[in-house]
């Protein structure tokens, strides 16, 4: 079973009569401390929580009393991360308002803590928006990446030490004695980290930093004194949570992560398109810049090289057969879709996509293995099928190589030959979702039930992608996807994982390369 992180929940003191207020804000689930309330029949699910068990946390943020404690010129960050990292079995509660709502939710989510937020009614929409973002980003749980393990104890000095380590972005895993740990182990009160050092958190943090060495730190942050990072994952996929405790928008943040990750995808609440800039990858480290964000950003780092699907030239148009064995498809080299939208493995075989192009058309052929099919009854194939993506479907998102990356075309085909084509604008969505646009593309589908593979072929007019004179060597932005299975076990397949429950992430697209001559 895949384990997902814990998404914070609204702690709501008001009774069932407040359900319409919650519904209006888009909140469908709450935690209530009040026994005996009947939320049945409401469109809000209520979960009883024992409020006496909840440990109250301070509102996260920043205190600009510069120079406090005398050893630093940076603002004082009020973060609860250290407590959430240490007390993993404790449920927490925040009393927060305004901008603190998102920061508290992000703090709890990024640390994996079970947390509840008690907020004011005027902040319900903010909370709902934060939850929408977290749910979209929430994927299989990743392991923490840390530079060292810290043997903790219950002393106040230790709390200050942990607090400062977190604030210095020195990533650690709290551990208790007896401990088995393979990497660097810091045991306060012993060796160089003696009692004297432990009594001075600044000195302690400086010693730890020196011991690790800046070059070996898993995460470095440049361009802000008020952004804290948490890192999860492995050498294939890492996720960095970036929390801005300051009140200002972060106008450019440079992040360095240990590991080689050519694909960097950034998400931030409220930002529909947010492309990482100046990505630099060397043998052992990846750097990128987040151009701007407020409060919270998540960066997913993918070790896979950005995908390129080569489309083979064809002198003439050819009949749609949905058959990879035909001569014109046999020579086309496929690209493989073998990962989920979150980059994980799939419960069925790998999907292959081949492409050819002519002077006027782009052809795509999907070969989609399946265990079972989720098909729409009464299929219609002579016009668009709205919301076709609620059934098994293969999709291609194709955009012009230049211009607004948030604008592109979407072409879908089902195993039964249903289709829908859409004119997409991610930042300014069309009122009808773009379904009013028609590309004039043609499709052919075929199900081989014996082999448990369905095939879908598209002939897309090149002019529908962009009114250009396409020539060999030209490139397009391309996303290839598949949705398989019936709810609630739908599998989202992505050629270039977006690491969220959404394919409409143009920053994640790969490239279609027109090869050959024309």
């Amino acid at each position: 079973m895949l384990l997902f992180a814990i998404i914070p929940m609204l702690l709501w003191d008001q009774g069932p009569q407040s359900a319409p207020v919650l519904e209006k804000a888009g909140i469908r689930e709450i935690a209530t401390p009040n026994r005996g309330e009947d939320w049945a029949g409401k469109r809000v699910r209520a979960n009883l929580v024992d409020a006496s068990r909840l440990v109250r946390l301070d509102a996260p943020g920043v205190d600009y009393a510069i120079g406090r404690a005398g050893a630093t010129a940076v603002p004082w960050i009020n973060s609860n991360l250290w407590r959430e990292l240490r007390d993993t079995e404790v449920p927490f509660v925040y009393d927060v308002a305004g901008a603190g709502v998102l920061l508290a939710a992000a703090e709890a989510y990024s640390s994996g803590a079970e947390a509840y937020l008690r907020i004011k009614p005027e902040d319900l929409a903010t909370f709902a928006s934060a939850m929408t973002f977290l749910r979209q980003m929430d994927g299989p749980r990743l392991q923490p990446r840390v530079n060292f393990a810290l043997v903790t104890n219950a002393t106040p000095e230790m709390e200050e030490v942990m607090n400062l380590l977190v604030r210095r972005n020195l990533l650690f895993q709290p551990v208790a004695e007896p401990v088995r740990w393979k990497g660097m182990l810091v045991r306060p009160g012993t060796g160089e980290f003696d009692k004297e050092a432990t009594a001075d958190p600044y000195r302690f943090a400086a010693m730890v930093r020196s011991r690790i060495g800046d070059d070996r730190r898993l995460v470095r942050i440049y361009g802000s004194d008020t952004v804290l990072a948490r890192l999860y994952g492995d050498e294939r996929h890492s996720r960095v949570h970036l929390l801005q405790y300051g009140r200002n928008t972060v106008a450019g943040l440079r992040v360095r992560v240990a590991g080689r990750y050519p694909r960097v995808l950034v998400a931030s609440p409220g930002e529909r398109v947010l492309a990482a800039e100046d990505v630099v990858v060397d043998g052992s480290r990846t750097e990128f810049t987040i151009p701007e964000f407020q409060t919270y950003a998540i960066a997913d780092l993918d070790a896979a090289e950005p995908g390129v699907l080569a489309s083979t030239w064809s002198e003439s148009e050819f009949e749609l057969t949905a058959d990879p064995a035909t001569p014109h498809w046999r020579t086309a080299k496929p690209s493989v879709l073998d990962r989920s939208a979150f980059g994980g493995p799939l419960p069925f075989g790998r999907t292959e996509v081949r492409s050819r192009w002519t002077r006027d058309s782009l052809y795509l052929l999907y070969s989609c293995p399946f265990d079972s099919l989720n098909l729409k009854s009464d299929p219609v194939t002579d016009r668009d099928t709205p919301q076709l993506w609620n059934w098994d479907v293969a999709e291609a998102f194709i955009g012009a190589p230049t211009g607004d990356i948030g604008q592109y075309r979407e072409y879908q085909i089902s195993p039964q030959g249903e289709w829908v084509d859409l004119d997409i604008d991610v930042v300014h969505p069309k009122p009808d979702g773009g379904i009013g646009w028609n590309s004039g593309y043609q499709v052919k589908a075929r199900i081989d039930r014996a082999a448990k593979v369905w095939y879908g072929e598209m002939r897309i007019p090149l002019r529908s992608i962009a009114p250009a004179q396409w020539k060999a060597g030209d490139r397009m932005r391309l996303g290839l996807f598949r949705i398989a299975g019936a709810p609630p076990d739908r599998t989202l397949v992505a050629w270039q994982p977006s690491f969220r429950r959404n394919f409409h992430v143009p920053e994640a697209f790969g490239t279609l390369l027109l090869e050959g001559r024309n």
């Binding site: 010129a73 940076v74 210095r168 972005n169 600044y202 400086a206 930093r209 800046d214 470095r220 942050i221 440049y222 361009g223 802000s224 004194d225 200002n248 106008a251 450019g252 943040l253 440079r254 800039e277 100046d278 630099v280 990858v281 060397d282 480290r285 750097e287 810049t289 151009p291």
Partner: protein
């Protein structure tokens, strides 16, 4: 300059050997190679030309006289280059294909900054070299400082007046691949990045600093203006009474392509600040050298600046910029010229000389003084 293979070098810059054990360890990361003849110290190493005119600025109003400034600049440039006329002298540095950054100093604006009359004269000379106005950028790090001098009124339409860091603390105006990495005081952000304008837009830079005392560096002239005014995250070099300007300024000035592209320094000394710099904390610290100094060697020019500031302070009975006595340290008494928040580091100029940025030895500097009536 050749841009070396991307993706390989940003993590592989050389670690500069600290000349003294107590100096910070710097790591310079850049993809750029030096030009065959780097702009600093340039063609006229060890040469300084100072042009003085009593009519260059009206002290009561603070208004510069454009005609006199033009004449001073022309005399300075011809004396520096040996060319018969100013146009030829400017053309020996710039041609029509250049994209030129004019690095002004606005930290003391509006009272003491790169005077717009001087900047206007520099821009006119650049345009006379055939450079289109749209290829000239008057620039400074911070927009709020750049606004008050009103440069657009003094230059033709099309000339850019632009700030690197908008808003303050934004790193987007800086090149993520070109930086100096150093840990001064245990700060976590250990990088100072060079402006993208310098790495990606300009082919050459004219540096237009002022004549000012500086609470940390001792003086702020060519070297301080071209470095702390082009790199991010530099204020971290000072903490409490300690400042690392001694070695940081020269290190930053040595970074390519800044060193190669900075081909000319025009020090605006119409007005100066003899204490409390780089800001103008009190008008009583303003003085009027009425001088424009030109050269390609920032070290040689700044050495004469040291003499000017030190001389003015001596005249006013203030302690020397070289004074390191703890009894003269006070952040709260900055309006008293015998107190300073930092131990000043005027030795940064000699340090820069050791980095190959110019000539510090007074005996080897040829200082030409010209008087314009």
């Amino acid at each position: 300059m050749n841009r070396r293979a991307l993706l390989q070098l940003p993590f592989a810059g050389p670690l500069l050997a600290a000349p003294h054990n107590d100096l910070p360890a710097y790591r310079v990361v850049t993809d750029y190679q030096p030009a065959q003849q780097p702009g600093m110290p340039g063609r006229y190493a060890g040469q300084v030309v100072s042009v003085h005119s009593p009519h260059s600025i009206d002290e009561p109003t603070g208004m510069a006289d454009a005609a006199t400034v033009d004449q001073m600049l022309a005399r300075g440039m011809t004396a520096l280059t040996g060319h018969a006329d100013a146009a030829s002298a400017w053309r020996s540095f710039f041609n029509a294909s250049d994209v030129v950054g004019v690095k002004v100093n606005c930290s003391g604006a509006p009272q003491v900054c790169s005077n717009p009359v001087v900047v206007g004269a520099v821009v006119r000379n650049l345009i006379a070299c055939g450079i289109e106005p749209r290829n000239i950028y008057i620039y400074e790090r911070f927009l709020d400082q750049l606004t008050s001098p009103g440069y657009p009124k003094y230059v033709p339409e099309g000339v850019h007046v632009t700030a690197i860091e908008v808003p303050r603390r934004s790193i987007r105006g800086y090149d993520p691949r070109t930086y100096v990495e150093v840990d001064f005081f245990g700060e976590d952000d250990t990088r100072s990045n060079l402006a993208r304008l310098v790495t990606g837009t300009f082919t050459k830079i004219v540096n237009v600093p002022n004549m000012k005392d500086h609470g940390a560096a001792g003086v702020t002239g060519c070297l301080k203006n071209i470095t702390y005014g082009n790199f991010s995250n530099v204020a971290r070099s000072h903490r409490e009474e300690k400042t690392n300007t001694l070695s940081f300024i020269g290190t930053l000035a040595s970074v390519e392509p800044l060193r190669s592209k900075t081909v000319l320094h025009v020090m605006d000394g119409l007005k100066g600040v003899w204490h409390g710099g780089p800001f103008v904390r009190d008008p009583k610290f303003v003085f009027y050298p009425k001088t424009i100094t030109v050269g390609t060697d920032p070290v040689a020019i700044d050495h004469q600046l040291l003499d000017v500031i030190e001389g003015e302070r001596r005249k006013r009975g203030a302690v020397s910029v070289w004074d390191r006595g703890p009894e003269h340290l006070s952040e709260k008494r900055s309006l008293d010229p015998n107190f300073n928040p930092f131990i000043r580091e005027p030795g940064h100029i000699e340090f820069a000389a050791r980095q190959g940025l110019g000539v510090y030895d007074a005996a080897k500097i040829r200082h030409t003084r010209i008087e314009v009536a």
